[in-house]
Structure formats: C-alpha cells, structure tokens
C-alpha cells in the first residue's frame, strides 16, 4: 500500500488495480476479506484496518466502482449497527488487539453486532441505566435487562453499557463492554411491536461473565465512549441520498397520480403540502451531504432527523386518509422474524404504524429539540438535579 489516494480518479484507479489482480477469490467472504486487506473496505480507516487513511469523501467513489464491477457487497443494511456504531467506537477507543480482532469480521459481515444500551427504565435518559457490572478476580459479572436491540437474535457481539459504580453520579459510573452474545446467561427474546412484528429484542443478562479484555475504554469512562457511538448513530440516520419523490412521498404521489378515483378535493392541497415539505427535507439532506463532503459537518443532521420523522408521520397518515376504505384493512398481524419486505412494499397501514417509531427511536423528537436548543442555538440548559447525585439516590 502506497500513500493514500487524494482524488476520485486515484481512488478509482486503486479499485481497478485491485480488481485486475489475478489472485482474487470469488467466494463472497474471501473476496470481502481480500478487499479489506487491500485497504479498500473503508478508505478513511487506517492502513491495516481495512483502510488507507484517505478522505471519507472518497468512500462512495470506491463503493460505486465495486458496485459497477458487480462484486459482492457486505450487505450493509444487515450489519448496520456494526458498521455505523460499533466500528467507529472500536476504532477510537479499542486497544490494538481489539481493533485487530473485531474490525475485519465486522466489516465482512462474518460477525454481526448489536447494541445493548437502552433499558426499560432508561430510554431518553440513557445515562440512567441500571444494568450492573461487578468485578471479581476473573473479570466482570453482568446482570440487567436491555431492550430495543435489533439483530440481537443473530448477533455475535454486542456493545454494552453497564453500571460499574452506583455510588457515583450517573454519567461517571458507567463502563463500556463488548458482550459475547453466546456467553451463558444471555437470553434474547423477540419484542413484538404494534405492527405485529418483532423487529427488535429484549436481551436479559443474568450473571453473564466477561473477561476484563472485553472492556472498551477505562472503567467509569463508558459514557464518553458511548458518545462516539451515539454521534455516529445520528450521522448515519440521515440515510441515503434520494432522488425527488424517492421516499414515502413517492408512494403517496403515485397513488394520487395513478388512481384518480381516490382523489378528493379536500386532500389535494394536503398532498401538495406534503410534496413541498418532502422536497424541502430532501434538499436539506442533500445540502448536509454537500457540507460533509467539503468537511464542514454542520448540525443539520439533527434537523434532518427531526424533520424526517414528522414528515414521514404526516405522509403515512395522509396515505391512510387517501386510501380511505382500503386503509381499514391490514395484511397480516402475525409475521415471521425473517427478512421483511422493504418499506415501499408493505401496506399503508404498516407504514403508518411503523412510522410512529421514527420520532422515538434514535433519540425522541423531544430530546432532539432540546439538543438543538442547547448545542446549536446555545440556549441555557434546564436546572438539573440529577447530575451531581449518586445514581443510587436518584428517584426512578
């Protein structure tokens, strides 16, 4: 590996050179391992860990070149938690051994990751978590309950927050671990949602033993490690760049366009308002992407997440109104846990119901407004009584 590519042409040339190698394996995992080893997995990662230390902006160039050549990908949707949250945290806070051990099979998709942060009693107030980790001669013993864990039922590893000192204020007594999902005491149960499906899980940890080597960062530093994870979650929630009418609005617009018998005068302006709003959110996302590309990451990410949640909820509700009689029916309340069809292929009722979660998951809209008010606009925080008190003493 030479010096990192600095232009799109250089990045493309590297991919072409790689693909022209005579010894490339054709089996999917083998191929992905080779791509990783060539530093063409995530170009902005360091050399030796799947990258070349290049600019983040070159990654899409490489991805497109691989896609154009028809090579297998690592199914990024299936391993989203690993790619978006575990990997940047491992990179920033992991030891050399941890990065070496985990990043390659994470990226190739051989090992799926899940996130063990939220608890029934700690949602918006994640730092109030109760899951306890106590130290003994052999390492750590973890007991607690986690919730809203997607992919837990096929994950190999979980990133886990646990409380190592309940006598410290809540942010200070937390430690970050990599949890072996095959360890004894780990129980994964499907969590059925209002859509009827179980996209997520509850995870019960009953005296699960982890070695001290499973700790990421120092004891008591878990909250600052977790901030890396959460910041990367918010960045990734922006989603893909979509063309006009690319999202839920496209479904609504097509229904209006293609089914004149459903049109009602009182809904026309509502559909147009939704179209305008969707286009505004889309352009905001596009502008955010352009800022990221020139290295000016603005706070617009939280604006997009907040606006997108409201938009999606409005559009899916409007879709029910437009469909009228047809929206009185659902397809099937019981679903297997296998891969589900993409959003556009579901019923309008499913979309409507599932969209209720968009203003809750990954930070409620209420929490986002507070974050925007305080971190972006510089408005003063509320008086807080929970910051200087031992976690044990907090009312809950």
């Amino acid at each position: 590996m030479g010096s990192p590519p600095t232009t799109a042409d250089e990045a493309r040339a590297l991919v072409e050179a790689f693909l022209a190698r005579g010894d490339l394996p054709t089996e999917k995992t083998e191929f992905l391992r080779a791509r990783f080893d060539a530093g063409l997995a995530w170009l902005h990662y360091p050399a030796g860990l799947g990258g070349l230390g290049a600019s983040r902006a070159l990654q899409p160039v490489a991805d497109e070149a691989f896609a154009a050549a028809g090579t297998p990908d690592n199914e990024p949707r299936r391993i989203a938690v690993g790619l978006g949250m575990a990997a940047p945290t491992l990179l920033k806070h992991g030891t050399a051994e941890q990065r070496e051990r985990y990043l390659r099979p994470l990226w190739t998709g051989e090992e799926v990751w899940c996130q063990l942060f939220s608890e029934p009693g700690a949602g918006s107030d994640l730092a109030g978590l109760a899951c306890a980790a106590s130290k003994d001669a052999n390492g750590w013993v973890i007991t607690g309950q986690k919730v809203w864990t997607s992919q837990a039922h096929y994950a190999r590893w979980g990133i886990l927050l646990a409380r190592t000192d309940p006598d410290l204020p809540k942010h200070q007594g937390i430690t970050f671990f990599v949890c072996d999902m095959r360890a004894p005491g780990v129980t994964v149960r499907p969590l059925r949602q209002l859509t009827g499906e179980a996209e997520f899980n509850e995870v019960f940890l009953d005296e699960v033993r982890l070695p001290d080597a499973a700790r990421l960062g120092e004891v008591g530093d878990g909250w600052s490690v977790a901030r890396t994870t959460l910041m990367n979650e918010r960045v990734s929630i922006g989603g893909d760049a979509l063309p006009r009418e690319g999202g839920a609005i496209g479904l609504l617009a097509r229904t209006w366009r293609d089914r004149p018998e459903l049109r009602r005068p009182g809904l026309h302006d509502a559909v147009l308002r939704a179209w305008v709003r969707a286009e505004a959110v889309r352009l905001t996302g596009l502008r955010l992407r352009q800022q990221l590309a020139v290295g000016e990451p603005g706070p617009e990410g939280s604006a997009v997440k907040l606006a997108f949640a409201g938009l999606l909820q409005e559009i899916t509700g409007l879709e029910l109104e437009l469909l009228a009689e047809a929206a009185l029916r659902h397809d099937e309340w019981r679903q297997d846990r296998g891969p589900q069809p993409e959003f556009p292929l579901r019923t309008a009722t499913h979309r409507y119901l599932r969209a209720r979660g968009s203003s809750i998951e990954g930070g409620t809209s209420e929490i986002l407004r507070t974050i925007i008010g305080e971190r972006v606009l510089g408005l003063p925080a509320e008086p807080r009584a929970d910051l200087a008190v031992a976690w044990r003493e907090l009312p809950r």
């Binding site: 949602g123 005068p265 009182g266 009689e325 809750i360």
Partner: protein
C-alpha cells in the same frame, strides 16, 4: 338552547357501565382469539338494557334518547370494547325505527338477535344510498365490502335495488377482513340469490339508511371522545410515574404542554359530540351536527392516540401495551362514515361555503 351537559341519569349510566367494563372487558386478550367479538360482553350490555336503549319501551327497549346512547359509546370507546354496539344498537337500530319493525326491534333490544346494516363502514351519510346489491323480487345478489359489526349479526339490513331488505345472516357468505382495528373487525358480504324480506322501498328506504348513517356519524363522535379520553388519562398517569433525568417526565414542559393541548382538544370534542347527540335526539340540524362531529372529533381521537404512543416512548410502540389498540381504533374510526375532509365538503354545501 341545546343542553351540552350530562344529565344525572346519564352520569349514573356512565358510572355503572364503566364499572362493568372494568370487570368484564379485556380487549388485549380478546384480539388474540379467533372470535374477536366479545359476545359475553354484548350479552351483559343487553342485560343492562343498553342494546335496546333507543327501542321504545313497549318493544322491550328503554325508550331512551340518543344522548344516552352517546354516553354508552363514550365508555365503550374508553374501553375499546369489541362489541357491535355502534353498528347494531345505533345504526341498524335507527334504520329499524325508521322502517317500524317491532319484531326485529324487540329482538335487538333483548340482545338476542343482533342486526347490522350492510353498507361499507367507510361510506358517508351524504352518499348513503348506493347499493352494490341487486334485487330480483326478494332474491338478492351482489356483495358489500368492509361492513362493521356484521360478524355476529343474525339479521342484515341490505340496501338492494330500490329497497331495504332484511336477510338472515346465516344465509349470507361473510368473510372476515384482517382489519386495521382488531377490536371492531369488518367483514365482506356476498349475496347469491339470497332471499330477503322487503322492509322499505324508494324514498322510505333511502331515508332509513341516511338517518341510520347520520346517527352513526353523529354518535361515533362520542366513541371518539372516549378513545381520546382514555389516551389522555393513560398518558397523564404514565407521565406522573415515569422518571427520566431524576424527574417525572410530566414535569417537563414538552410533555406537559402536549398533554394540555390534548386536554383542550378533548374538551372541545366533548362539546361537539354532545351537540351532535342532542341534535340527533331533537331531530334538529342533524346533518350539520353529524358533519361537524366527524370533521372535528375524528382528528382529536387520532391526535390523542398519537400523543399517547409518542409520550409513552418505546413502551407505546409495543404490542404488549394497549395504546396500539386505541391508535388503530382512532385511525379506523376516522375513516368510518366518511373521512373528515368528506364531512368538511358536506358542510361546505350545508352552510354555503362553496368550492372555488
């Protein structure tokens, strides 16, 4: 002036019914069963004299006013009770009263022979007469889709050709829909030369169906008030007891103010629903009142149910918590008897605010 308050009789009725429902209704368990209608509960309502609330006393009913039926619907809404009250006691009952059918009314009042009107649940009163079933003499053929409260009915009132017919439900093919609202499942009806008995013809039949649907639209508003009220009360309770950041979440203005807005909306919806029930009772301004009621109360129930899910956070998204039953009821009811915009368009005609 129309009384918008509750009478003492109405308040007593509410208290009795609420106590009964608390003891005997369990919709979350019920929806897991193949027979989603709670027939036992319907029986109990009948025993309390509520099935025949609108039926004259001489036919075994209570001879009460639609205002009292509205109170019953508020409570049934609060409980998302899976019983065919709206469709049987109110809508079909009103149609039967219009046709003057003592035997069927007596059977309905006794709770023994539930009756349903075979029209699509989503159909607005203003387009009431649009039969999709034809009549050759007393033989009916055709189908009606997405009918409410017909699954356990014994008699179906079927608009066909130019008449309204009574049909034995067991002779009709009934196919249960997978309904958005599992606490009020719909079914599709098919008629294939099925025999019926003519109840009314021409203008009389049209009047019977229109009056029935107007009563349904007007009183559904009270059910929507009940749905909204449960959502509000339950969310307030949650906000009092759920701690985050060392405080009950109800002490945060984001939560408190949203609940205050829901309360204001419910307060208004109650006034509108009471007005609608009084209008039906007094047979005065029924069309305006019904359109107003659906144009307004539909959205309030949806707003309250959406706030309930949101302010419960993750737990509100689970199947385990009953919030989703109310959300689905609210959304489904918002389409029943015509969506809000359809009612606004009707108001435009009634109060002379013509389109551009």
């Amino acid at each position: 002036m129309t009384g918008l308050l509750y009478s003492e009789v109405e308040s007593a009725l509410r208290a009795e019914l609420r106590a009964m429902l608390r003891q005997h209704s369990d919709p979350p368990a019920r929806i897991e069963r193949a027979d989603p209608v709670d027939v036992d509960l319907w029986r109990r309502l009948a025993d309390m004299g509520l099935a025949g609330l609108l039926v004259p006393e001489e036919l075994g009913g209570a001879g009460a006013s639609p205002r009292e039926a509205a109170v019953v619907l508020e409570e049934l809404g609060r409980a998302v009770a899976p019983v065919p009250y709206l469709g049987c006691a109110v809508v079909a009952g009103t149609a039967l009263l219009s046709c003057g059918e003592p035997d069927l009314l007596a059977g309905l009042a006794a709770g023994e022979r539930p009756v349903a009107l075979a029209v699509p649940f989503a159909g607005p009163p203003s387009g009431a007469w649009s039969p999709t079933v034809t009549a050759a003499g007393d033989r009916l053929t055709g189908s009606v889709r997405a009918v409410a409260d017909a699954i356990t009915a014994e008699i179906l009132l079927v608009p066909a050709g130019a008449g309204l017919f009574a049909v034995e439900a067991r002779r009709v093919r009934r196919e249960q829909c997978t309904s958005l609202d599992e606490t009020r499942r719909l079914c599709d009806l098919s008629f294939d030369g099925t025999p019926g008995r003519l109840l009314a013809e021409g203008a009389d039949a049209e009047t019977a169906v229109r009056d029935a649907l107007l009563a349904g639209a007007a009183l559904l508003a009270s059910e929507q008030v009940g749905v909204a009220e449960w959502c509000l009360d339950t969310t307030v309770e949650h906000a009092r007891g759920r701690y985050q950041f060392g405080r009950p979440i109800g002490s945060f203005q984001a939560v408190k103010h949203r609940l205050a807005d829901v309360w204001v909306a419910v307060t208004q919806a109650r006034a509108v629903a009471r007005y609608a029930a009084s209008a039906v009772a007094e047979k005065s301004e029924v069309e305006v009142a019904a359109a107003l009621a659906q144009a307004h109360c539909s959205g309030v129930a949806v707003e309250a149910a959406e706030a309930c899910v949101q302010l419960h956070g993750g737990i509100g998204m689970t199947w385990e918590h009953p919030a989703h039953l109310y959300l689905k009821r609210a959304r489904s009811a918002a389409l029943a008897y015509g969506a809000a915009d359809v009612h606004r368009a009707r108001l435009a005609e009634l109060v002379d605010l013509p389109p551009a």
